[in-house]
Symmetry: C2
Subunit: 137 residues, 2 copies
């Protein structure tokens, strides 16, 4: 990465967010070369809900390219970036099923993604005890 | 809110994050006066997993003060803020049970919280088909 690009990544708000926008665009395109170019060699992926962990760029590329077969698509709903952190909310869809995905990213000082913490919240029943306090949509 | 405070909230990165830090500190303290002072009159809360929606400051104060009884505590793990948006990751605990909570916030031009999108991701079984691609922790 050039020093100009490094400066951009440590610069104004939004640059870590741009890296994350590029990450999702590469995933949607199954462009694993572009995807891998955004990752640090020592990237660590964790999914706290399943306690899955993947360490290193090569392993994480394989996790993505082999671990999610199927004709899925994703749409980025929002990205919030600050300094070397960013968070994304996406909608991941396959056929009729759409699910939100929430992902926290940390970038290293070169602007490469070095840590990913990934959440896939499923629907659940609203607690009956607070039903009188909230509407439904 | 004074114009000085308004300027701070539209200023450098971190000011929307400070509002969210104050929000969680007030919740942990059950200081509903301080909590309410951070909210816009027309705040809307949504929980996409349950499709609960609460509209307006008074209703949202009641939702929090009445809807979550018990001796819970929360710890903020991280906050990422950009412009008038911020995202928090907290750990919510009650007794031995701890659960992550992820919350997206939008602030209005006065720096008051006007929209909250709240997720509580539960553990789930890792898909067997990708077990060879990830370790566990």
């Amino acid at each position: 990465m050039s020093s100009t690009e490094q400066a951009a990544n440590s610069g104004p708000a939004g640059s870590s967010g741009q890296v994350v926008a590029d990450y999702w665009a590469a995933a949607e395109a199954r462009d694993w070369t572009a995807f891998g170019a955004l990752l640090a060699e020592d990237v660590v992926y964790e999914a706290p809900q399943t306690r899955e962990r993947v360490s290193g760029r090569e392993a994480y590329l394989r996790f993505n390219s082999e671990g999610f077969p199927g004709d899925w698509h994703l749409a980025v709903e929002r990205i919030v970036g600050q300094d070397r952190a960013a968070v994304s909310m996406i909608q991941f869809s396959e056929g009729e099923v759409t699910q939100p995905g929430l992902c926290f990213f940390d970038l290293d000082e070169d602007g490469s993604i070095v840590r990913i913490t990934d959440f896939w919240p499923d629907p659940y029943e609203a607690p009956a005890g607070r039903a009188y306090l909230a509407g439904r949509y």
